[in-house]
């Protein structure tokens, strides 16, 4: 089986995240960059499938030079090889333009059976990449999977919602996005870290993918950021004087917030 796992290097959610004043895209220099946690779960799921049978796991990312760190981490967990789309022209791409790039890049990997991704990146939070890729590739997409089994050319997934659990099924090839509860990702190991250095990483530009600069980046994106403002500072909150009825007032507040 040939599995491609999409990963994304994102600003650490624990650090301050900013947009740049110029082109209103992510200010990468202002924060630490890490492999998005949800991607580690996608990698873990691919490695479990690999360990249960015979599969090759390819990591795919689009990002600048420093995305190499995220690739190395995924490889040190146990993936076999990687494709890194690294082209300044991609800078500022919206979700659809990014999906075009990734769909083309998936095409360079060979006969892919399964594409695994996180259900939503912690920076863009569009949560749409798996669906868009399914559309562009002409494959079914099973999103928000909290359980996944792949056998006999079929992917079966469970998706939990507020209303209940949905059982999803699709024939391969397919795109699957995974949720937080699907697994507990493994740590890399020393041996994995050493081995990762020798694993092949193919770097591609958009010309290698048959794309023109006008199709990607800010120019090729339908979504543009017109303006942005920092989150307003926290307000002083609401003070409740306890006049013997403090407990009741707190309960009233929580009910008002639909917390109880």
């Amino acid at each position: 089986m040939n599995i491609v796992v999409l990963i994304k290097q994102v600003p650490d959610t624990w650090s301050e995240r900013k947009l740049s004043d110029g082109d209103k895209t992510l200010d990468r220099a202002s924060s630490d960059a890490v492999l998005d946690e949800i991607n580690e779960r996608a990698v873990e799921e691919a490695l479990k499938i690999k360990e249960a049978g015979d599969a090759e796991v390819t990591i795919l990312t689009a990002g600048p030079d420093r995305a190499t760190d995220a690739i190395r981490k995924a490889l040190s967990m146990g993936a076999d090889k990687a494709v890194h789309v690294n082209d300044e022209a991609i800078h500022g791409s919206d979700a659809i333009a990014t999906a075009k790039v990734l769909a083309k890049a998936i095409g360079t990997v060979g006969d892919v059976d399964l594409v695994l991704a996180g259900n939503e990146a912690t920076d863009g939070r569009s949560g749409a990449m798996a669906g868009m890729l399914g559309e562009l590739l002409g494959w079914p997409s099973l999103t928000h999977a909290n359980e996944l089994t792949v056998e006999n050319g079929t992917a079966k997934a469970k998706r939990e919602t507020d209303e209940g659990t949905s059982d999803l099924e699709a024939s391969l090839p397919a795109v699957v996005s995974v949720g937080e509860k699907i697994n507990e990702p493994r740590y890399p190991s020393f041996k994995g870290i050493m081995a990762a250095k020798k694993k092949p990483v193919t770097t591609l530009g958009i010309a290698d993918l048959g794309l023109d600069a006008s199709e990607v980046g800010l120019a090729g994106s339908l979504v543009q950021v017109d303006s942005f403002a920092p989150r307003p500072p926290k307000s002083g909150g609401q003070k409740v004087e306890d006049e013997g009825d403090g407990g009741a007032k707190i309960a009233e507040y929580l009910v008002g917030q639909k917390l109880i």
Partner: protein, 585 residues
């Protein structure tokens, strides 16, 4: 996962500075044993250590302190949840095998890098960290002295975390005085031994974390020489090959002030027919075998003390920058907002003192670790010998100085938090209690003092001490930008030379050793001042907040700390006999 974000466990920026800008560990990577590694590997290993320490070790640190190990109704040792998962993650990642050579299944990292990585676990949860650390020590000992059969039987399980190791030295009547141990090992016809005796203070002596525990026991084979020359090393596994339990019984669990996550035991060997064991190394060569890696072990204790010092500093620093109280001097207008306590002068003093102790401890521990790499891998015979000699002299200081001053740092961390620091709602009081063990175990403060003054300062005609002073003077030569500090350090070196000669000319060993601890502390403070000057030279002209912090801490050490040594040297030079002449009755 919070890798990359400022942690309260350790300061990654400081580790990177010490490893790369100062100690230049990259230069080691040209040597054959480390040729597989590069900066990328080192960064990834430190990232991994931080991640596992943060996610698997720190979360149960307080729980393990509150619910200390005890025996359940079935007699088995009960530990809090999370310990086993932490140790498994540690082993699976390869940390037990971090500096084990590749031919034995290890990763062959430079010892300096391994030590820096391991400090994350000591800072996050020293009680849990000690289990795999003991196992690593057992692996190193077996690889150095075990037979191929013993290595094959136990080392793979130790590396994958299914077997653990202990060090059984002390007995109820013999702690620091190992010459007086009475545990005996009777040789059997089949080549094995039967061990009978009681061992005290055995960390990790009994638990359910691993399938097997291999106890490395000091014992006397009957008929051997008296004293330490008659001590042999016997490996006694908890479980025998046939699946039966060996004759090793948990006689009791010690209830400790700190370090409570580590179960500490009293073990009886041979209550029935004698515990089955096998000789490791030569008959009567047990002490040398056990102490084969003593320098490394003692540097490791110093690093543990340092790790707790750093984490206490970082916790109190965060508290002091967020807790508001009072107003600036002269500001009496209560309608103005209160200021963070880090802006009050005395709180700043306590924070800067912690920084100056903790970062010196980290630098000293990593410097000594670099010496371990030099003595083991430098291509030149003379350089290897020189590194070994310098390490020998520095080891008692690298063990004792952080154990004393990073404990003092934890004391200050409590003080910074005030009443909150005295409660169990904040972790600084636990750091202090955990750290209080370090001046005691692996050779007490007093033993280290006797080692430095009685042995290391005079060994080989004083060549070791002379090498230390020469090495410090080389730093002074490179410190032209810091003439005030260089002059103060040179003056302190002259005092070391004079005082050492005076003490050894006393004509009475009792007088010489009566103030050995003061000597250790005085020389230790001078060494710490040297380590600060080394860091300043490495900082160079760097102009950012990190560099400014280093300059402030160095300045603090030279203004507030180094001058303390003057009265200490005065006392030593007077060959004081007050303690000798006191009658404790």
């Amino acid at each position: 996962m919070m890798v990359g974000v400022t942690s309260r466990i350790l300061d990654r920026a400081d580790l990177d500075f010490l490893l790369h800008d100062w100690l230049r560990v990259g230069d080691l990577l040209d040597r054959a044993p480390f040729a597989e590694h590069d900066r990328e590997t080192i960064d990834a290993v430190l990232d991994l250590a931080e991640q596992i320490a943060t996610e698997r070790f720190e979360p149960h640190n307080r729980a393990a302190d509150l619910a200390e190990p005890h025996q359940g109704p079935d007699g088995k040792v009960v530990l809090v949840d999370g310990v086993q998962e932490a140790i498994r993650a540690f082993a699976e990642a390869g940390f037990i095998a971090a500096s084990v050579p590749a031919e034995h299944g290890g990763t062959g990292l430079p010892f300096t890098v391994a030590r820096a990585a391991l400090a994350w676990f000591q800072a996050a949860n020293i009680g849990t960290a000690s289990y795999p650390f003991l196992t690593t020590a057992a692996v190193n000992l077996l690889l150095a002295h075990g037979t191929p059969e013993q290595i094959e039987a136990w080392v793979p399980g130790m590396l994958d975390g299914t077997t653990s190791g202990t060090m059984c030295l002390s007995e109820p009547q013999a702690g620091s005085s190992l010459a007086d141990i009475t545990t005996r090992a009777e040789p059997q016809d089949d080549g094995s031994y039967r061990v009978v005796g009681t061992k005290m203070w055995i960390s990790g002596g009994e638990h359910e974390l691993t399938d097997n525990i291999v106890h490395l026991v000091l014992a006397k084979i009957p008929g051997g020489p008296a004293g330490v020359k008659g001590i042999s090393l016997i490996a006694v596994p908890r479980m025998l090959d046939d699946g039966t339990r060996n004759d090793v019984v948990l006689a009791g669990i010690n209830h400790k002030m700190g370090y409570r996550g580590t179960v500490n035991t009293l073990l009886n060997f041979g209550e029935r027919d004698g515990a089955v064991g096998w000789l490791v190394g030569a008959e009567h060569g047990g002490l040398a075998a056990m102490f084969h890696m003593m320098n490394e072990a003692r540097v490791g204790v110093g690093m543990g003390a340092t790790a707790l010092g750093v984490t206490g500093y970082l916790h109190s620093l965060e508290y002091a920058t967020t807790r508001t109280q009072g107003r600036a001097v002269g500001g009496r207008d209560v309608s103005t907002p209160m200021i963070p306590i880090a802006r009050h002068a005395d709180v700043r003093r306590m924070l800067l003192a912690q920084k100056s102790y903790a970062e010196a401890g980290m630098a000293l521990g990593l410097y000594c670790s670099r010496l371990v790499d030099e003595k083991d891998t430098h291509p030149d015979d003379g350089s290897r010998a020189e590194a070994a000699l310098l390490l020998d002299v520095l080891t008692p200081i690298a063990k004792s100085w952080p154990s004393q001053w990073c404990l003092a740092a934890n004391d200050l961390a409590i003080q910074v938090l005030g009443g909150s620091g005295y409660t169990r709602d904040f972790p600084v009081e636990q750091f202090y209690r955990d750290n209080r063990l370090n001046p005691i175990h692996e050779g007490t403060h007093g033993i280290q003092a006797i080692d430095l003054l009685g042995r290391k300062a005079v060994m080989r005609g004083g060549a070791g001490l002379e090498l230390l002073l020469t090495t410090i003077r080389r730093t002074i030569e490179r410190a032209g930008e810091h003439p005030e500090y260089a002059a103060a350090l040179e003056a302190a070196l002259v005092r070391i030379e004079k005082t050492t000669a005076t003490l050894h000319a006393a004509g009475d060993p009792d007088v010489t050793l009566a103030n050995a601890s003061v000597y250790l502390e005085a020389v230790g403070h001078v060494v710490a001042a040297w380590i600060w000057l080394e860091q300043l030279v490495a900082v160079g002209t760097r102009d950012d907040a990190f560099a400014a912090g280093k300059r402030s801490a160095a300045r603090f050490f030279y203004r507030f700390e180094l001058p303390r040594t003057g009265p200490w040297f005065d006392l030593l030079d007077s060959l004081d006999t007050t303690t000798l002449e006191w009658d404790p009755s």
